[in-house]
Every structure is written in C-alpha cells, then in structure tokens.
Symmetry: C3
Amino acid sequence: MISFFFSAEELKLLRKFLPNNFDFFELFEKQVGYAVDAASTFRTIAETGILTENLYNKIQSLEHQGDEITHTIINELNKTFITPFDREDIYNLAKELDDVIDMFNTITNRMRVYKISGVNPILVEFASVIQDSVKTVQSAIVCLRNVKQHGSIMDSCVEINRLENVGDTMRDKALGELFDKEKDPIAIIKWKEIYTDAETILDICEDVAHIIETILVKQA
Amino acid sequence: MISFFFSAEELKLLRKFLPNNFDFFELFEKQVGYAVDAASTFRTIAETGILTENLYNKIQSLEHQGDEITHTIINELNKTFITPFDREDIYNLAKELDDVIDMFNTITNRMRVYKISGVNPILVEFASVIQDSVKTVQSAIVCLRNVKQHGSIMDSCVEINRLENVGDTMRDKALGELFDKEKDPIAIIKWKEIYTDAETILDICEDVAHIIETILVKQA
Amino acid sequence: MISFFFSAEELKLLRKFLPNNFDFFELFEKQVGYAVDAASTFRTIAETGILTENLYNKIQSLEHQGDEITHTIINELNKTFITPFDREDIYNLAKELDDVIDMFNTITNRMRVYKISGVNPILVEFASVIQDSVKTVQSAIVCLRNVKQHGSIMDSCVEINRLENVGDTMRDKALGELFDKEKDPIAIIKWKEIYTDAETILDICEDVAHIIETILVKQA
C-alpha cells in the first residue's frame, strides 16, 4: 500500500504530478455542443420571427449549462498538473466557448426586451452564417483530440475566419441600409444593436479559431 | 554580515527568492475600500438626484487613488518572487477591482455629460443593489487573508452572483419600460446607456467573485 | 557535427533552449509603423473631410498587414524558448498594438457605413492628438531594444497617459455639445459612436504604455 510510505499531504502533492484520467476533450465537446444547440435555436427564432417562451427558455437553459461546464473545466484545470495542452490555452478556450453561448443569450434577450417580432431576412441570413460558423468550431474541437487531424483542424479555422469576414460585410450592408431607409430613430437604435450582436458571435468564433491555431503551433 | 559573502547583484537576486513582508492583503483591502466609498457616493447621487461638483470630484479622486494602488500592487507583484497566491490571480484581482472603481467614474461622468438630474427610482434601486454587491466583495476580500474563512468567502461569492442576477432582471425591466413608454429617442439613448453601465458594475463584481473562487479552488 | 550526437527530436528540443536570432524588436517596430501610417491616413481623412476609396483601402490594407505581423509575432513566441522579455508581455504588447491598428479600421469603416462627410473640427482635433499619441508609442517601442534608454521610454509613457486624459476631456466636451445642440437623434447616434471610437484609440495607446511600464519594472 502506497499510503504506508507517504503522508496524506505527500499523497495529495504526488497526485498533482500524476497524469489523471480527467478528459478535457470530452468537456470541450460537450461545451461546444451547447453552442451548436444555441445556434440552431437562434436560427429557428430568426426564421419563424417569433420568440416563443419555449425557445427563450431553451437559450437560457443552454446558457446555464454552459456556465456549469465552464466552471467544471476551470476547476479541473486548477487541480490538474499534467494537461493535454498549455493550461492558459485550456483556460482561454473554455472562456471563449462560454462567450459564444453567452452571446446567444445576449442577442435573444435583447430581442425580447425590445419586443422584436416578425421575420427580418437580414437576421435570417445572419443566423444561417452563424450556425455554419459554430458547427465549424465544433468540427475543429472534435478533431483536437487527435493531433494527426492537424490539416482538417486548420481547414476549419480558415473557414471560421472566412465566415467572420462574410459577417463583417453583412453587418456593414445591414447598417448602411438601416441608416439609409429607416426613419424611426428608435428602430435604428434597436436594430443597430441586434446586427452588432449577431456579428459579435462570429467575432468570438474567430477568437476560438485563433486559440485553436495557437494550440496547433505549440504542438508542431 | 551577509554582504561579505554576496555581491550586490547576488543579494538582489536572493531577495527575490525570500519571502518579503509585503502585504498584498492590506493593499487589496485598501483598494476595495475605495470601491465601497465610490458605491456609497454613487448611491447619494442617485438618491438626491443632484450630481454636485463635490460628489463628482469625490468619485474622480477615488478613481485616481484606485489607479495608484493598482499600480502599486502590480509593481510589487513584478518585484516579488513568493506571493500569497498565484501571481496571475493577484494580477487579475487587482485589475478587476480597479475596473469596479473605474465604472463608478464612467457612469457618473456619463450622467454629468448627459446633464441627468432628478430622482429616478430605478437608478435608486440599482444604486442600492450595487452598494450591497460591492460591500459583499469587501467582506470576501477581508476574509482572503485567513484560509479558514473559506466557507464565509464562498457565501459572499454566492451572494455576489445572486445580486448580479437581480441586476440583470432590473436592467431588462428598466429597458423594457424605457422603450415602451419613452417617446423621445434622445432620452432613450441616454438612459439605455446609464442602465447598462449600472448593470456592468454588478457584472464586474461577479468577475471579482470568480477570481476569488479560483483562488479558493487552488488552495483547497 | 552536432547532428552526430543528437537525434532529430533532441536537436529540435535543444533548439528551443538556445537563444535564437529571432528579432522581436524589429517586428514590434514594423507593427507600430503600421499604426503610425494608419494614424497619418486617418488624420488626412479627418482634415479633408472626404473618405476616398483610396484612403479607405489604405486603412484596410494596413489592418491586414497588422494582422499578419501579429500572427508572426505570436507564432514565433510559441516556438521560442528564450525571449528578450517575459513571454506574456510580448504577447500582450503584440495584441494591444494590433488593437490600435484595428481601431483605425473600425472608426473609418463606421464613417463609411454612416456616410459621414465634411470637415468636423472636433474630429480634426482628435485626429491630431491621436497621431501624437501613436507617434509617442512608436518612440517608446523603438527605445525598448536598449535598456539604457529607460528614462526616455518612461517619458513617452507619461506623455501617452497625458494625451489619453486630453482625449477624455475632448470626448466629454464633444458629447456634451452634441447632446446640447444636435436635434436629430440619428446624427447623435452616429457622432456619439465616432467620438467614442476616437477616444478608444487613445485608451488603447495608454494600455500599450502600461505594458511597456510593466516590462521596464521587471527589468529594473
């Protein structure tokens, strides 16, 4: 029995140095799964033009589940000595994926507070690009476990960057038209923020891609 | 005399490895004290509905004192080898507490620029919740020195999180009413930002609570 | 031949520990050079009151070049073991200088989307203060290579801080006048954001100065 030779304190210290069977990859896959669910829910909201109580609660619930898993990842990180990649990258990845999920809550909540209803074709287009981006983030995360899939992870990162550029152009076009055509300043205030939120989701996905690229560079 | 055996350079190096009597806890207590003063000043401004030159200068002066102490903490951190908890947590805690104080300056300055006057019951309510949150942050910081007070620190963090949720609901209700009832778009622009600033103070208090939780997890 | 004694893997590992001839200072000088070009282009836009396609493309192109060099710095950092100063400070400095360049793109793009034209004396004044600040950042970066220039670097940091305060006052005055005199809420929405963006550039320059101060403290 190892406990004959080590004190409780020493064992605690020792455990920190041993590889544990804690699976960070599994947690990240679960976390990005919530983001994908949120993206799909948000697309339904945009396409139906009705923010039902049910859909709103779905987003809220995903945000809570996201908070919990982020908390779990960071707590495990603080207790684990040997990690599959740099601790700060694990920390940043968890935080940034959490921000993706949070932004779906932010935009949905804003639409509720502003009593937005009806189908807006620009928002529908945004929701589709956002879903593509979040799904591509998921592809990259799922491949992280296997270093050999380096090439396909890089392809995902390039695609996420491309979609962020698409989003920039969409937002600029949307805002340009809004200021050109809309005469009601209150409607301008509302939609300006919703378009900006939508583009911010794509920005955060790009931030995730940058962190993933950093992880790959360090493993090269 | 130790200086007979070591060169000046070696002594300088050695000193970095020795525990110094620099008291980070005391600095954090001082820093959070400025935040508590700012919260109380802000509450007076909200309750009286008059942003006097005196109260405005008080906030400005607290912000300057906050900057100075943050600077001191970070400089000491960069010169100290052995710290009471992880250097990055000390850094983040100092930065985040500084952000709390800064936000009181931001919101007060905005009220001044927008020439806001008169008592707004929603802002009064916000100021009270904000003061509760900042005082709870203070309770947590004061207990940090003593690891045995783990339980009461965790209670404070739970309470700070709860107050942030209260703030979210207050902001959403406030914005909903603003867009429903206010017909002047310029008034909407002004109050939308002030309510958002108020809620942001509670967000930053929650960020402080997260850092404190991280410190506790690492010490467990 | 060293390769007789070490395997390829060992050589790769060894190289990480050897000082390499990678010149971070040169990259930072190049990066801040793009920021200076962007500041000068922005000043031309403000002073002429015409955002020509040519000037807009210039800013866009500087932003792309800025992205590339930031990417290069971070990749080199992740591959280099011995760095001229703390890795996190190199990382933060690269990120923050990139943010300076990005903000010129943000403000210029906003002016384009909002179809802003004509000379606005307040914006001209902002552009001049911004150019002063970015040039002062350049002076500090260029001196970083030589620790003996400690004094002149500190002078630059003090000046950058001073210019940020000047910017705060300018923004408050600009916003105060905007809300006092402008009756069109849509014009208020537009200019409020442009003045805020302009001041943000000075904020980010101040963040750069703080990172430089941190580097100096650690080398002291």
